[in-house]
Symmetry: D2
Subunit: 354 residues, 4 copies
């Protein structure tokens, strides 16, 4: 039996993640969007802010309001927070106190250890008492906990593209905890909908560039989850790049097998990798393990909640190369949050995500 | 005193490298283009095949001919070969025998060891007797030999983007020969001007994808030059990716310092890297070492013969990350070939490359 | 009551329209895809040819076959033809004779008059006896006839973008039949999935160009439908341009009001245009009439079956400027064909098109 | 004999036009850049603001200053103004009074009639006394006047793309003054380097949209120059569109021959158009008249000062369709300003524009 329809608020729905969240939830049979907030767009309908929803009756009638906690509490049972880091926590605290379930797309509750948060985000955590009950919202990994969580910290685009391919290997002890390198290529929507020179068309088009080298904030949550899976601390290398596509992340991972690989047993080791992924993901509807000669391509996942994963053992270097592709706004943000919503409230995992 | 004007033939000038070569040589004060060949475009003027040259008088009058060795020998002193691998050697042999200087943009003469050639290119080398005198045409590295070479094997785009940042470090012993990883992002022009589905606009636009994993042909020449610089064999990891820009290569290199780096001495190690690059390139007109917070961006080098290089020591991982950006068709192909031409015939190194 | 599930064949499903058709029909509750054909992809599964469908069970199991009429007749009640012009008719004839309903995405049955067909397509019509019963499949215009048609000639991208904004005005006599100009900008997918140099990424990226000036084949069907609406012959001007987007058509129409417009009565005339569009489209689910300052933008319709329409009366020139935006592969091709399928078989018009 | 080197100031050099101007003037043998100003970049070197000039010694040493008239007067003989409309005039007045030659890239002095200026730009003209001596800087049209001008009002991108193809036809009386329509497609750099949401990568990529319909400010100067050429007032229709390329404008013009054209004499009329263009532009180095089946393509002119023009007489409609392509930042802005500089100071017209 399906859960009854939930009244849902989307707090801070004026960026690209908010738009994608709206797109999914407007068609979700278990959702009534009761409130959308955005300081800058208050008073406008969803359709005015996002013309592509202009044919949907709710989008034509529902207006953005200023984000006020009282209104959210009064009108919603579930709140999605699409707010900047730091701001999200200030909403989560009273909403949870009032009994709402909160699905937070910011980084505020992804890091268990407030010391690590302070180190990477530069300041004391705004709501440390909630950290112990926050669930890291990666459904393929923490699905059981998500089902009963009050506070789901939905992971971002880079961590998802890196963690889903590596966690099963770390858990199985197939790769070492040293020397993990993630080289990621992100579409520009990952930078958000901000009027900054760096993200103008003419600055991004016909341009490719690394940024945030060598210490990106997302390292905190990536290393946390890797360490949990490995059972010992992981320090890894991560280099993000900006490329001229609107959506999509392609991550290439350089991994060191936990035992030395010779050309002769590269095939056997490859089999164990294959089996490890099958064990982890054979019933995961949104993980697509590529076969044969296929390699990930962002254009095959854009607009979907799917992550593609392929791998190669290099007999020359003895290294394992794993590649993943996802839509940074769907599996890397809003789609994943809806997937957690589905698990949390008993809907089929793929509802509104097909 | 300048060299007299050279009569130059461009053999196989119908692709993107050929076009870029024409662009440069049409304006080179030391060059008279006496012959351009292209089987598929024979009979057409340069301007008909490349409308962007339509205002240049030579481009309006000079017609492509079928590529015939006798005609080249009779009409040119220098031949640029912009031909597929394997085909180039069959032209180089008679042209060199006839006394021409040959600048070859293919891979045919880049690999010193015919066994390695056979391993990576799948067949016996077509002109092994020329290998010993062929000079690997990286002007910043083999400039002295280029000045007197009869046969210059001009390197391709990936190797240039990888070798210029790594060779000084290997020569100086600052990095280890193990564990070198190059992750490269290339514009679509690198695939050439071929009517194949994979390179259609709709297949490349809004798409990012790795290919040729884990064993790309260019590894042969990259490892050869790295091994020469290091004085011992190097086996490295290389992953190319296709991204939706017309031109440009961005390479991110993951390198292991030859001594263990602690957070405390990351700064000192960084200084030694800085000095090493200054020693190698302070008088190289086309190598731009980035300072301060700047990181390479292909849009800053596209259309020029410049390679940008930046580096970061990561105190968390102890690793050295080096990044480079170049135009795959200029520094990564035709511009570099013209640079070698300039060195070979006594022109200022930057002639027709400003 | 819904119609029972139909067994559907897609003939020639290897291009971009075929892919979009598959995407829609794989999720259509009234469709069982019983057969997909493609000479070049015969033997491969849908998922192998289109990796983005790799998570759909039917796409993973159903294999392309060679297109054979007997097999289609035996396995399907409805056939979508996504074949080149001329070829489509050779399939339509026997399929209709065998009692199937045919929805043809080619131009073969869009032109009522075989003389006009011969003039624009260069040869006698291959099945002239079927022309009289073929229905021009523009659901907003010929919806009633579509409901009982055996042969639906689904219109292409340019005609749809031009006809939906002009037919109501011509029917109402608000604009003259002389001097109609349509200036259209099309994404590259409109050229199909063909390995031709002109459509390579490097030839289309950073490029804008007109083509087929001044006589494009689609003029035949555009002028036919305009003439029907106006009740007198229309000859119009049409200039298509290729722009570097994958999907989308933006058409700007220059129209002459049927009476002379002074600055003083531009407002009144604008009102009559507004009313005319409301009368025509207020209950059309896929026509979005823009209000206020809004103008069409392809990014607001891509991926949907919606066409956006806006208009301006220019008091300086007395002219009416109308602009439309659609996705050339959806409302301009496959989505529209599914819309006709829905009308024909009694499904809600928006089924599988939300 | 060449003119001596001129000391040149570039006022407001922080946008895309300023960058392109710098690119040209840094390599101009008759120019010493003595001053570059930019309020927002004051204190930074040219190379810091535009990393792509990072290998040029002047760009590495010359720093932006705050724009102050006294400094300009003291250090320069010629000033290029790359300032917003309205601001430019406030600099031009004192600079001209001090004896400098001013080349203004804004619209401030393009319109002869201050009433028209007020009508289109919304306010009294800031320096009406200079209007009578300002020369509209279209070198192919007003070359003689440019040679002795103190104040050159260099035309913008849309007017150049529209006027060069139409003025000769209007002067020759080959086309009527009624019913002129210009449909233009512009790259995003035309919007300038402004941090606005509308010009973000994600808002422009995969998007095509008209804007400023039906009354764009550039109409004022376009109609002024057309009227001068025709000898009678011209009111025309102009629709600009934004397309996802960085550079380039493609304009399609719909023109009515001054006499009625039948299919039979379309060829004769076409010959007269051809001859008219030859008479106007056979010695213009930057106008490329396309022959045969060729049509303009922005990718053939981007990075150059060339405008491509092609035309077709449509025997079906009796209309003349003319198409042009240019680089909006070069022939449509900075290149054209340098061309005027060359004419004004006796340099070959193509200096620094090859």
């Amino acid at each position: 039996m399906l859960s009854p329809v939930k009244r849902v608020a989307i707090i801070g729905a004026s960026g690209y993640s908010g738009e994608e969240l709206l797109k999914r939830l407007l068609h979700h049979p278990g959702v009534e969007i009761s409130l959308v907030t955005s300081r800058q767009n208050a008073g406008q309908t969803i359709a005015q802010v996002y013309p592509r929803f202009g044919s949907h009756p709710v989008a034509r009638s529902l207006r953005f309001t200023d984000p006020q906690v009282d209104a959210v509490v009064g009108q919603a049972e579930v709140a999605f927070l699409a707010l900047p880091h730091g701001v999200a926590a200030s909403y989560a605290r009273p909403l949870i106190a009032a009994g709402l379930t909160v699905i937070d797309l910011s980084a505020d509750f992804r890091i268990n250890d407030p010391t690590v948060y302070a180190d990477f985000y530069g300041g004391a955590h705004p709501a440390p008492e909630l950290l112990s009950e926050a669930v890291y919202g990666l459904p393929e990994v923490h699905g059981q906990q998500i089902k009963s969580a009050r506070l789901i910290a939905s992971p971002g685009c880079y961590p998802t593209s890196i963690l889903l391919p590596t966690l099963p290997l770390l858990r199985a002890g197939l790769i070492g905890t040293n020397g993990i390198i993630a080289d990621s290529l992100s579409g520009v929507s990952g930078a958000g909908r901000k009027a900054e020179l760096d993200y103008l068309f003419c600055e991004c088009n016909e341009s490719v560039r690394p940024y945030g080298v060598p210490r990106h904030r997302h390292l905190a949550e990536i290393e946390q989850e890797m360490s949990l899976a490995a059972g010992s601390p992981v320090v890894m290398q991560f280099t993000p790049h900006l490329i001229p596509v609107t959506r999509g992340i392609l991550t290439t991972l350089y991994l060191t097998p936990s035992r030395s690989i010779t050309p002769a047993d590269a095939g056997v080791f490859g089999q164990s990798i294959h089996q490890c992924y099958l064990d982890a993901y054979c019933s995961a509807p949104f993980v697509r393990l590529l076969e044969g000669a296929a390699l990930p391509d962002t254009k095959n996942v854009v607009g979907t909640n799917v992550i593609e994963i392929a791998w190669r053992v290099d007999p020359r270097t003895g290294r394992l190369v794993v590649m993943s592709a996802e839509d940074n706004l769907v599996k890397g943000a809003s789609g994943q949050a809806v997937q957690s919503f589905n698990l949390r409230f008993g809907y089929p995992e793929t509802t509104a995500l097909d």
